[in-house]
């Protein structure tokens, strides 16, 4: 690994020029850790002399950068190169034997056989290393082929095997009693003891306490009389067969010693030849004894034309069997491995094709493993470990982490960069951590290597090679795949994102579309709580509930599927011989069928004399002179007439009979020995050449040995072959039908399971993570529809157009709509306190207003209401009058105390009144001077003594009073006339009861929030005010031309008159100073910083005596509030600043259009951290004491650790969700969405609740969101404001 680094570092050194050029080109856009530190002019700690570590880090970073550029520039050649190298490295694997537990064979000659010594002999290279020491046993099989010939019509099917089987007993006697020079079988054979307990069932069948000698005679305890008395031989044989599917050797195979199909013990046997073996296990090999036994048997039962080879013995080595006890841990590790891979690849996010990348990641890891094995083999390190066992651990050691880190790093680079720059940046950002991890892992493995335990050393060796090849693949293969993916995403992203961004200017998205139709009146706000499915993938599965987990991952189905696959795999894997036997049997059955299908028709055809090629194999005993025992000659004599009329059984010996045991299950011998608790694992047995025995029986003998009941089996009708065909066909159909039935049942079962797990319309919601459709209750993926919550938003209506500005100081709330109308609301109750009208509305209802205003003092309130309503009707105010009045009244009446018992409720009329105000501006002088302000102020409050106040009114009543005051405020109008109605309000701030508004004409106005009167205004600037900050008695205004103006608000009034507003109970709230209406308020420009920024100032925040501005010119500036002195210019962003957060603890965070978030220390001006979190602009930033929360145009909310800058997690929101954020408490986050606000638990990233603001608000996104001190949330919602209380949090604050 280090070598790789070194070489790339060297290459970097070799071409420093080009790299520097790249950097200088990209320096502005791609700040990398190493470089930007020096570019940053205001970095207070510029490392003058880099340490070795720094240099190394920078070099690594540079090398990775170059490498990323390379990979992204030439994807196809690199992928081809990588594939070629993978294949090359895997090539040695072809030579390796496939791993498996199948037995291994080794053949030696019989003649010069000697027991191999225990010492390994180097010269015998072909001798396998397991061939040492004596075998467990020598297996001698006596292969018997018997037939009744000639076959007569008088014979019944049972005769095919009854008498041939009966001959086994005499044969057994012969073998048992064979003695060669005082050696008997008893002395040589393998003595066995008890069967294993638990095999009681087999006790009657298998030999115990004696020679291990098995034959079909064991079914009848080797007693002829029992055999003769057995009425149904087939039943006896079959009753020991296990029911159902079996994978290992059955008892029938064990006793017969040949595969079941070949025994010929069947009523429908077409060949009518019975084959079985007598199997003898010898503990020691005595060549002379075996030879004499062979000679004796051959002499007794000669097999003519038998050319079986007798000169080879086969040693079969059995590997360690994977028993159930070993399988369970193995399966467990694999399950854990798959879970690991699953959970890892789930984390791949924000890419075009999640599955593609996940596949690439898995391919990377797997092929690195293969490469490591291949390379190790190439260098002569043959693996001795069990590959299947260590594989999961290797994967876990190598891990998918690097791949994921790489992906995350690349996707978090700014989107607007070119693809190859993004790749390069992502690589270089993570280069250091990747290298560090590599080094750590290598160290750990190195430590493991020095344990000097061979197994661990080997593991470590593999792991090292695997790690290095994994690194290679990551760097070349995965990076390239990633670049391709990112490139694909760019295109798709462009298509998707452009329309969404078009309507949203970044800093303060003012939607320009006028609302043509107001929302229809509705009885109550519609609120729904929900676990939004879109957030399900935000981090890792948050589900504990097993059912949901099962449903989502379809775990049950998958487990069943995987189980089936595993089962089939086990079947194929563990018993290939069995399957092969089956297939072979099928094939062999097919071919005789073809042959046997012909003879009945052509049975009499003169095939036989014609010298047909098949007849060369057939044994024709007739022409051969046989000096043999009588029965044999009888058989021959009998055979001769039988050949012509009926198809007579012919005993043939072929080369396939030489090693008939090969066609048995390879478990045959292990299972036979395991019954006696003898393991063959890692040991071998030697199989001696078979002794062929041919038995010919006469029909008469067959008839003699018949059991009385045998004849009850009806002889098969002449077309017996046909029926047997039919029989097999029928069984086939039965099996097929059964299978079909089982399949249907399984499907039904799965379906039921599915319905149970997913009770509702799961899977029918179209896009699973897509947006919810309105109307129906939003339900999540599983059809889980949450109940209605208790949180209900309070809708504040009255604005006719979309709300542009929102300001609050905790008690009051000021809002300004696009029409320029400012409304002041009570933040506690939602009452509309004041409406500061604008010209547009006045114009719309111009005529007749004067009379109306004149009569205000006289007309009773009821009439006013009526008239007002009338006025609003022709005025064509955007919101219908019913709606407005209804809404306000509904909101206010319940909370209203019986204040003026004798007076009607006037509050619903307020807006109406102001909407009907006459255009007084035209009449009054447009001039505005501070000198006249005093008089005006006096004039304004002349009528106020008219009203009778309660002696000590509580705050709310005070406000009511002022409400009631408003109708009698005609003198207020002159100052209003000086207000600038032509321009729109761009910025607004609220402190105490003063509203500061900044207009597009550059005018700053101060309004009285309670009385709705203009207190002063300042027109010193001409450029539009884009942002305002109101702190203490200072107002800072940022202008479109980049200048920054500092104003001071002076209150000409003794300080003692300053009163504090707010009910006494709310002691915890910071009291806001209240400027009483008698005060003379003046506002003058103290300092104007002309070129604060080169470009328009987008953000302005003030806290802790500092004013922070962010601008399009990529810089952030910090000013001191007192003396408006610029303290720092913070550089580091590569895009315009879009969001700034500063709080009392002097922590400053800024987010820019480059998607970067910088955290600064305001005291020193140094950058604490710099992270890329978003593709596209950072739209909003909030901090808590422990973390930073940012939201971006990519609909992602990221939560960062404040001290370390590490991303804790991110929340993917729906597309087009608002980017507004608010923190209610230390661990409660509010985000605005499409017509809803969501509450999140910050500690865990869980969605707590989503509150819908209205039922028909699709497309209306919450753009601004304010968190009030009383834990209420106010957010804009089209032309409405929504006040959401979080009751529980409210409780907590108390």
């Amino acid at each position: 690994m280090y070598q790789t680094t070194m070489s790339s570092t060297i290459s970097y050194v070799a071409v420093p020029m080009s790299y520097d050029r790249i950097i200088s080109l990209d320096a502005r856009r791609c700040p990398r850790p190493g470089r930007t530190r020096r570019l940053d002019g205001h970095q207070l700690t510029p490392a003058p002399r880099m340490t070795v570590r720094e240099r190394l880090r920078q070099n690594i970073s540079a090398a990775f950068y170059r490498h990323g550029l390379l990979c992204a520039s030439y994807p196809v050649p690199i992928i081809l190169f990588t594939s070629a190298s993978i294949l090359t490295c895997c090539y040695p694997l072809l030579k390796l034997p496939l791993p498996g537990t199948g037995p291994v064979e080794f053949t030696t000659g019989v003649r010069d056989y000697s027991i191999p010594s225990h010492e390994s002999q180097g010269d015998l290279s072909e001798r396998p290393d397991w061939y040492r020491g004596p075998p467990v046993a020598y297996i001698q099989q006596v292969l018997v082929k018997a037939a009744v010939s000639p076959w007569g019509n008088s014979l019944v099917p049972v005769d095919v095997f009854r008498s041939p089987l009966g001959r086994v007993f005499s044969l057994l006697d012969e073998i048992r009693n064979h003695v060669y020079t005082d050696r008997s079988l008893e002395a040589l054979c393998l003595q066995v003891t008890d069967l294993l307990p638990g095999l009681r069932r087999m006790q009657a069948v298998l030999p115990e306490h004696g020679c291990l000698l098995v034959s079909p005679g064991n079914y009848w305890q080797n007693r002829r009389d029992l055999f003769d008395a057995d009425p149904d031989l087939l039943k006896t044989v079959h009753q020991h067969e296990p029911k159902g599917l079996h994978t290992s050797a059955t008892l029938r195979d064990l006793l017969f010693g040949v595969p079941g199909k070949q025994t010929g013990v069947s009523l429908y046997s077409k060949k009518r030849v019975v084959t079985y073996t007598v199997t003898i296990a010898l503990s020691s090999y005595d060549a002379r004894f075996v030879g004499s036994l062979r000679a004796r048997l051959k002499q007794l039962h000669p097999s003519a034309n038998c050319t079986l080879r007798e000169d080879h013995m086969v040693h079969v080595h059995f590997k360690e069997e994977i028993g159930i006890a070993e399988l369970i841990p193995l399966v467990t590790t694999y399950i854990i491995l798959f879970a690991y891979i699953y959970f890892s690849t789930r984390k791949i996010d924000m890419v075009r094709s999640k599955w593609g990348l996940a596949l690439a990641a898995v391919v990377t890891v797997l092929s690195s493993l293969l490469m490591s094995v291949g390379l190790c083999t190439l260098f002569g390190l043959t693996p001795t470990l069990n590959g299947g066992e260590i594989f999961p651990y290797l994967v876990v050691v190598i891990g998918l982490e690097n791949v994921l880190v790489l992906t995350k790093s690349v996707v978090s680079t700014p989107v607007d960069l070119e693809v190859k720059l993004r790749i390069a940046q992502g690589l270089s950002n993570e280069s250091w951590s990747i290298m560090k991890n590599m080094a750590t892992e290598l160290c750990i493995i190195l430590i493991g290597y020095f344990t000097f335990v061979p197994a661990i050393q080997e593991f470590c060796l593999f792991a090292v090679v695997g790690l290095v090849s994994d690194f290679f693949l990551q760097m070349f293969f995965f990076t390239t795949v990633l670049s391709i993916d990112i490139r694909r995403m760019e295109l798709a992203d462009l298509n998707r994102r452009l329309p969404a961004e078009a309507g949203m200017p970044p800093p303060k998205p003012g939607t320009l579309r006028p609302r043509e139709t107001p929302p229809p009146p509705r009885p109550s706000p519609h609120t729904i709580t929900l676990q939004t499915p879109a957030f399900r993938n935000l981090r890792l599965p948050k589900r504990l509930r097993v059912v949901y987990f099962l449903a989502r991952t379809r775990l049950a189905q998958r487990i069943i599927m995987v189980g089936t696959v595993i089962w089939i795999g086990i079947l194929v894997y563990t018993d290939p011989a069995g399957l092969r036997t089956f297939l072979a049997a099928q094939v062999s059955e097919q071919s005789p069928l073809g042959e046997a299908g012909l003879p009945p028709h052509l049975g009499v055809a003169p095939v036989f004399p014609g010298g047909h090629p098949t007849s060369t194999l057939s044994v024709l005993p007739a022409p051969e002179p046989t000096p043999l025992p009588e029965n044999q000659s009888q058989g021959h004599r009998a055979a001769r007439p039988g050949v012509a009329p009926v198809s007579s059984p012919q005993i043939t010996w072929g080369s396939e009979d030489e090693e008939l045991w090969r066609r048995l299950s390879f478990r045959h011998w292990p299972s036979l020995f395991s019954y006696y608790n003898i393991t063959l694992a890692k040991r071998y047995i030697s199989i001696l050449p078979v002794i062929p025995v041919t038995l010919h029986l006469s029909p008469q003998e067959a008839i003699d040995t018949r059991h009385p009941q045998d004849t009850q089996h009806a002889p098969p009708p002449p077309p017996s072959i046909k029926t047997s065909d039919l029989q097999t066909d029928l069984t086939l159909y039965k099996v097929a039908a059964l299978g079909l039935f089982a399949g249907v049942l399984l499907v039904l079962l799965l379906f039921c399971l599915y319905r149970v797990l997913c009770p509702r319309n799961y899977g029918q919601n179209g896009v699973p993570h897509g947006r919810r459709r309105r109307g129906d209750l939003p339900c999540d993926e599983y059809g889980y529809s949450p109940p209605i919550s208790e949180i209900s938003p309070l809708l504040l209506r009255g604005h006719s157009m979309d709300i542009e500005c929102l300001a609050s100081d905790g008690m009051l709330l000021a809002s300004c709509c696009l029409a320029g109308q400012i409304r002041v609301w009570d933040a506690q109750t939602g009452d509309c306190l004041t409406v500061i009208p604008n010209k547009g509305l006045r114009r719309s209802s111009s005529n007749g207003c004067w009379e109306h205003r004149d009569g205000w003092d006289h007309i009773s309130a009821f009439e006013v209401e009526g008239i007002a309503t009338d006025f609003r009707e022709p005025g064509g105010a955007m919101g219908g009058p019913d709606v407005d009045i209804f809404a306000i009244r509904r909101r206010t009446t319940p909370a209203r105390p019986a204040l003026f018992g004798d007076q009607p409720d006037l509050t619903p009329l307020i807006d109406t009144n102001f909407g009907a105000l006459p255009p007084s501006q035209a009449l009054s002088g447009s001039g505005f001077d501070f000198g006249s302000l005093v008089e005006k102020a006096y004039q304004e409050h002349e009528p106020s003594p008219v009203l009778v106040f309660p002696p000590s009114p509580p705050a709310s009543q005070q406000r009511r009073r002022s409400l009631g005051d408003q109708p009698v405020l005609p003198p207020e109008l002159p100052p209003q006339s000086s207000a600038d109605w032509d321009s729109s309000v761009w910025a607004m701030e609220l402190r105490g009861n003063l509203i500061a508004t900044g207009r597009s004409t550059g005018k700053l106005e101060l309004w009285d929030a309670v009385e709705g009167s203009l207190r002063c205004s300042n027109e010193d600037g001409v450029s539009g005010i884009t942002a305002l900050a109101f702190l203490n008695n200072r107002i800072v205004a940022a202008r479109l031309n980049g200048s920054l103006d500092f104003f001071t608000v002076e209150i000409n009034k003794p300080l003692g008159l300053l009163q504090y507003r707010g009910p006494p109970g709310r002691g915890s709230l910071p009291p806001s100073p209240c400027y009483s209406s008698e005060d003379v308020i003046s506002c003058h420009l103290t300092r104007s910083v002309q070129c604060a920024h080169q470009k328009p100032i987008t953000v302005l925040k003030a806290a802790a005596g500092r004013v922070v501005t962010g601008s399009q010119d990529h810089t952030v500036r910090v000013y001191r509030l007192e003396d408006s002195c610029c303290l720092f210019t913070l550089q580091g962003h590569s895009g315009g600043i879009t969001a700034i957060y500063i709080d009392q603890t002097m922590v400053l965070a800024s987010g820019g259009q480059d998607g970067a978030i910088c955290v600064w220390d305001v005291l020193t001006g140094s950058r604490v951290s710099h992270v890329y979190g978003h593709r596209g602009d950072v739209t909003s930033l909030v901090c808590t004491t422990s973390c930073i929360i940012s939201s971006g145009l990519d609909d992602l909310i990221c939560i960062w650790d404040r001290s370390t800058g590490i991303k804790l997690y991110s929340i993917q929101q729906e597309v087009g969700c608002g980017a507004s954020l608010g923190v209610i408490s230390e661990n409660l986050l509010v985000t605005g969405g499409q017509g809803c606000v969501s509450f999140w638990d910050l500690n865990y990233g869980d969605l707590l609740q989503t509150v819908y603001l209205g039922p028909s608000s699709e497309g209306q996104s919450v753009r601004q969101l304010l968190v009030l001190d009383n834990a209420a949330i106010i957010c804009d919602f089209g032309s409405e404001l929504s006040l959401v209380y979080v009751p529980s949090v409210l409780e907590k604050l108390d």
Partner: protein, 221 residues
Amino acid sequence: MSEVSSVSRRGPYVSMITSRSVNLLIRAAMLFTVGVFLALVLNLLQVQRNVTLFPPDVISSIFSSAWWVPPCCGTAAALIGLLYPCMDRRLGEPHKLKREWSNVMRCVAVFVGINHASAKVDFANNVQLSLTLAALSVGLWWTFDRSRSGFGLGVIIAILATLATQLLVYNGVFQYTSPDFLYIRSWLPCIFFAGVITVGNIGRQLALYEYKVSQEKSHQD
């Protein structure tokens, strides 16, 4: 915790208190299952050294010889898995290191691997075995936990568990299949330590769901 309960007193969180105990039970049950399962599997791994090719009674012997061992392991797992997040909260240093399921899976895999190594790999002597296992266990802690509290708790529990096992053995309640007493003693504490770290990791990960679960519960009610 206090915040949670205060939040739960109002509004939609009314049923949170009851569901929290339910949630606790669910977590405990899951941890118990994990513990039992791991105990069975690891026991199988240890038993494997002595089994023959076709042991007909391996499974039965596991369940019969010391039937109370897996439940004990399960209970211990439940306790430890609940203890870890609780302790994190008490000490106020939440477990920040890579709280992801993939990491937990990795941790479990490494734990099984350690067991596998202790069962399968032939070591020259017990000191070597002990040292290797100890290094592996500490490596496990460093990779997946890295919290001091986790380390301390792990060490304490490992020591206690080893002591308890030894006491049981001395009193003859429980005996090892393998007579090599020293051998057993050498690997036991390391395995215990690694197990505690692993189960603690799982428990912490499960504790992440607390809010979610209680929320769902409250919806169901």
